[in-house]
Amino acid sequence: MANTEEMKEAILEYVIEEYAEDDDDVTYDTPLITGGLVDSFSMVSLKRFLEVKYKISIPDEKATPEAFDNVNIIVELVKEFI
C-alpha cells in the first residue's frame, strides 16, 4: 500500500498532467474544484483514476466537490476506502 506522501505525489502528478493548463501552478492545497481547475464533469474522471489506481470504490455520495477540492483532502478520502 502506498504511503501518504507517495499518494500525494501520484495524485498531484495526475492532476497536473490531466487538468492543469499551461499557466496553472498546482500544489497539494490548490483548490481544484472551487478554483475552477477541475469541473464537475471532469471530477468523474478524477474519481475513476483514484478507483483504478488504488483499487477502491468511492460511493457517489462521498464524491462531493468539497471532498475533491485539493490533493490533501483527496488523499484523506482515498485512505478511507483502502
Partner: protein
C-alpha cells in the same frame, strides 16, 4: 408590483414596439448593443452606478466596475482591435474564463461592428478548431493559460491573424501571432467612434450541437436586443436596485443574452464569480454580495439540493427576491425544495441558442405549477405540431413538437455557412425547436424531451456524432455509439459503447484513458461518464448502428421494432 404586471393583459396588448420605445429606437436607426449596454446607461445618468462586481478565485480578489468604467474599457478594447485591423463583420473569439475582459470585451467587439464569438474555455483543442475554422475567425482574445490550445491548432487556421493575451506577464516570450494587451493598463479611450450597426447587422455567433454534422454557428443580430431587453425586464423582473447573478458562462447563450445584454441594457448591477462550483462557495458569494435576483440552472440547483439544507443556515440569504432557472427542464422537486429553503420557487424558463431570448416561461405574479415550463412570452405565436403531419394540435395534454412563428426580434438569422441545415429547421412557416411537450387545459407547457438524439447534459447540448467521431480517433476504438444516460444531477450524461481494435483489451485503465482523450479533445461535457465494451454494436442489415436500441437499454424503455436488426 412586478415589471410585467398582469400576464394576461400583456398578452392582449402586446407589441415589440413597447421595447423599441423604451430603448428610444425607431426602425432604420443605428442600433449597437455595445453602445446600449454602456454609453446609453451613462447618458441616462448612471455613469457612476456599479455595473459589475467581479470576484476571482478568492474573495479577496475583488474588482468593481461602474458603467462609466465599462464604457471606457470597452472603447479601449474596441480601439485596440481596430488598430490590429479588425473591421466590421470580422469574427473575434472570446476564449477565456469569466474574467472582466470577457464581459467588457464583448461590448468592445460589438462597438466596432465586429462579430463576437464567445467559446467555453473548457473546450479542448479539436472543439476549438472546428468552431474557429467554421467561423473564419480573425482574432481570438484569451488568457495565457488557454493560449497553448490555440497554438496547437494554429497551423490549421490560416485566417486567424491575432492571438490577444489579456494577462501576459513577460515570463515567457510571446509565440507566433500572439500579442499582449492589458485592459486595465492601456490608455483609456474617452471618445470612440462606434460603428453604426443597424438592426440586421451581425452581432454574435454562438455554436450549438445537433445530432449529425459539425456544430452549427447560430447567427444573431443587433436587433436581438429588443427581445433580450423586454424578456429580462418582464421575466427576470430586474429592478433598479437589484444585484443580479446569472451563473451561466458567456461561452453559452444564457451568459450573453442574460449574463450581459439583458441586465446591462437595463442598467442593472451584475455580479460574476470566476471560480468553480461548491455549495458553500455559492451561498457565501450570494451572502457576501447580497444577491437579490439569481438566474441559474437545474443541474446546479440539484447539486445544491444534494449538498443538504444545513449548509444554507450558515448564510444570510434573505436578500434573495426572485429566482429563475434555464437549460433543461426544472423538476417539480427542485421547485418545491426552493420554496422550502429560500421561501420562493425557481421560475423555469425555456429557450434555445437559436431563439436568442426566452420563449416559454413562468412570470412573477402568475401561479407556478411545479415541473411546468410556464406559458409563452407575450407576442409569440407558439403551437405544438403533430410530428407526422406538422399540423397544430388543438387538444390539451397531447404530445407535439414545440414550434414558433419566427417573428420575434432575437430569432436566429441563419446557421453560419450552413443555410441548408438552417432551412431544415422550418416547416410550413414554423420554426421547429426540436423539443416535445404537452399543453394542459390552462395553457401551461410540460416538457417531454428532444425529438432527436442530441444529449442535454447539465443544460448543454452534446452531439453524439461529434463524440462518436472523436472516439474513433483513439487507437483502441474500432466502432462507437454514443447515447444519453439518465443522471440524477445533470439530467443526462454521455455514455459510449465501443468495440476495440485487435491488440487492445478491455480494462478500467483503458476506459479512463479514452474518457480523458475525449475530455481533452472535445470538452469535459462531451466526455463519456461511462464506457461499455461490446463485442459488436447493434446494426441494421445495411450496417447503420442502431443507437435507438442502446438508448432504450439505458432508459429501461421498450426497444420497439427490431426487424431491420442485423442477424448474428
Amino acid at each position: 408590483m412586478s415589471n410585467i404586471g398582469s400576464y394576461d393583459e400583456r398578452v392582449k396588448n402586446f407589441s415589440w414596439s413597447l421595447a423599441e420605445q423604451e430603448l428610444e429606437y425607431k426602425k432604420g436607426d443605428v442600433i449597437n448593443i455595445g453602445w446600449y449596454c454602456s454609453d446609453r446607461i451613462c447618458d441616462k445618468g448612471m455613469a457612476d452606478k456599479t455595473a459589475m462586481i467581479w470576484e476571482g478565485r478568492t474573495k479577496e480578489n475583488l474588482k468593481t466596475f461602474t458603467f462609466n468604467d465599462i464604457r471606457l474599457y470597452s472603447n479601449t478594447i474596441g480601439d485596440f482591435l481596430r488598430k490590429q485591423g479588425i473591421v466590421d463583420n470580422d469574427r473575434v473569439c472570446l476564449f477565456m474564463d469569466k474574467a472582466p475582459e470577457l464581459y467588457i470585451g464583448f461590448l468592445g467587439i460589438l462597438k466596432i461592428g465586429a462579430v463576437a464569438q464567445p467559446l467555453f474555455s473548457a473546450f479542448g483543442d479539436e472543439s476549438l478548431f472546428v468552431r474557429l475554422d467554421n467561423a473564419g475567425t480573425k482574432a481570438i482574445i484569451t488568457q495565457k493559460k488557454h493560449a497553448g490550445k490555440v497554438q496547437k491548432i494554429l497551423d490549421r487556421l490560416p485566417h486567424l491573424e491575432h492571438i490577444i493575451i489579456i494577462d501576459y506577464d513577460g515570463k515567457k516570450p510571446l509565440r507566433e501571432k500572439e500579442i499582449a494587451f492589458s485592459m486595465l493598463e492601456a490608455e483609456p479611450v474617452e471618445k470612440f467612434d462606434i460603428f453604426p450597426t443597424k438592426a440586421e447587422s451581425h452581432s454574435l455567433l454562438h455554436y450549438t450541437s445537433g445530432t449529425t454534422g459539425q456544430p452549427k454557428g447560430v447567427k444573431h443580430v443587433h436587433y436581438s436586443l429588443i427581445s433580450q431587453y423586454l424578456t429580462t425586464k418582464w421575466v427576470l423582473d430586474l429592478q433598479p436596485d437589484d444585484i443580479y447573478w446569472c451563473t451561466a458562462d458567456p461561452g453559452w447563450v444564457t451568459g450573453t443574452s442574460y449574463g450581459i445584454i439583458g441586465p446591462w441594457s437595463l442598467g442593472i448591477t451584475l455580479c460574476v464569480m470566476d471560480s468553480g462550483f461548491s455549495a458553500e462557495a455559492w451561498y457565501a458569494f450570494m451572502d457576501r454580495h447580497k444577491v437579490t435576483m439569481w438566474y441559474s440552472a437545474p443541474t446546479a440547483i440539484r447539486s445544491l439540493m444534494k449538498a443538504g439544507d444545513d449548509i444554507i443556515k450558515n448564510h444570510n440569504l434573505s436578500s434573495l427576491r426572485h429566482l429563475a432557472s434555464v437549460g433543461e427542464p426544472l423538476n417539480a422537486e427542485a421547485v418545491i425544495w426552493s420554496e422550502k429553503v429560500f421561501g420562493k420557487p425557481f421560475f423555469d424558463t425555456y429557450w434555445q441558442t437559436e431563439t436568442g431570448s426566452m420563449m416559454i416561461t413562468n412570470y412573477p405574479g402568475m401561479k407556478v405549477k411545479p415541473g411546468s415550463m410556464g406559458k409563452a412570452f407575450p407576442g409569440l405565436t407558439v403551437a405544438l405540431l403533430d410530428d407526422k403531419t406538422f399540423e397544430p394540435i388543438t387538444e390539451p395534454n397531447k404530445s407535439g413538437l414545440i414550434a414558433f412563428k419566427p417573428d420575434w426580434p432575437a430569432c436566429m438569422r441563419t446557421y453560419w455557412n450552413n443555410e441548408e441545415t438552417f432551412q431544415k429547421k422550418f416547416k410550413d412557416g414554423w420554426y421547429l425547436s426540436g423539443d416535445k411537450s404537452t399543453i394542459d387545459k390552462d395553457g401551461y407547457f410540460w416538457f417531454i424531451g428532444r425529438d432527436d438524439d442530441v444529449i442535454n447534459t447539465g443544460g448543454h447540448l452534446v452531439s453524439p456524432f461529434e463524440v462518436e467521431s472523436a472516439l474513433l480517433e483513439h487507437e483502441a476504438v474500432a466502432e462507437s455509439a454514443v447515447v444519453a444516460k439518465p443522471d440524477e444531477v445533470n439530467m443526462e450524461v454521455v455514455k459510449a459503447f465501443v468495440t476495440l481494435n485487435p491488440g487492445f483489451e478491455a480494462s478500467d485503465m483503458l476506459e479512463l484513458k479514452i474518457m480523458n482523450f475525449i475530455r481533452k479533445k472535445l470538452s469535459p461535457l462531451a466526455m463519456p461518464q461511462e464506457i461499455e465494451y461490446m463485442d459488436k454494436l447493434p446494426k441494421t442489415r445495411s450496417g447503420k448502428i442502431m443507437r435507438r436500441l442502446l438508448h432504450a437499454k439505458e432508459w429501461g424503455e421498450e426497444i420497439g421494432d427490431t426487424s431491420t436488426l442485423e442477424d448474428d
